[in-house]
Subunit: 145 residues, 2 copies
DNA sequence: GCAAATTGATTCGTGTTCAAACAATGTGAA
DNA sequence: TTCACATTGTTTGAACACGAATCAATTTGC
């Protein structure tokens, strides 16, 4: 647990440093990166790619639009949807900014041997599986009573 | 990264379930638990035990005091400090509430073999070390300009 | 013994996160 | 066709989480 906590904290600290330097928080940078990687998309799609609640992403996108890095365009084929895309300034900024949060973790992994990475992946996968199963149980348990 | 994300998310989901059931969020339960474990202490101490910024813990404690689960007493030996302690209601509630957030992770670990747990611990420790070192570098780098 | 630095708690401003509720739009079945 | 239902994006309200600034109390340095 302490290690998990410290990993999250290290990522947060990294995010703060990036924010100081580039005026972008971790989630903001991450959103830009996803838009750059996978082209224009709707808000729901972006939220799914980021494993976040759509209502959360609205705020992140709001701030990016305010900064002129992302454009919200109407989607002619479905008027419920908005098409999110980088502005020229957005892609420009993305070019010389660091990897988004994950980058640090990736960098961290590069300092480990292949076997270590494989072990880590295997054990976290197991742990996640057990935890998510636990969670289902808890949901049913709490729902019952 | 996905696994890390999923672990955090699983913990969040668990926290939500607990909140629905007991009216306590994860951090609140965690604070109660630390107070129960390590007796009365100042806010800074509690913040350190929770790996959180003191300013964050103020809010958590506020809500616990409001619920009548924690008392803020003056410390006669140092009048800057406040002594945080469980109220009787607080310890009562803690008795039949589930393990705080970590509990789920702990439970998860119990589903793994000793070797798996050891591997997991070793690899996360390595990863944390690399990430924190990275972070120091980044701080200096960004500080330089 | 008193000024200066430090420490502990708090407040403030910004940003992230979720669930719940809502409006607008699209879809499918009676 | 029409009406119930689903989907998409948004708003709202609560709780975290951080750093910076503030304030009182304490410790230090001279």
């Amino acid at each position: 647990m302490r290690n998990l906590r410290r990993m999250v904290k290290a990522l947060e600290a990294y995010s703060m440093a990036v924010e100081k330097r580039y005026g972008l928080t971790g989630p903001q940078l991450w959103a830009l990166w996803e838009l750059s990687r996978s082209g224009p998309m709707g808000l729901k799609d972006l939220a799914e790619r980021m494993y976040l609640n759509p209502s959360t992403v609205v705020g992140v996108v709001d701030r990016l639009v305010e900064k002129g890095l992302v454009a919200r365009d109407p989607d002619p084929s479905d008027r419920r949807r908005v098409s999110l895309d980088l502005t020229p300034r957005g892609s420009e900024l993305l070019k010389d900014s660091p990897h988004p949060a994950q980058g640090q973790l990736l960098h961290g992994l590069q300092g480990m041997s292949l076997k270590e990475v494989q072990d880590l992946h295997a054990s976290t996968a197991t742990l996640v599986k057990v935890m998510e199963a636990e969670n289902l149980d808890a949901t049913f348990f709490f729902a019952d009573g």
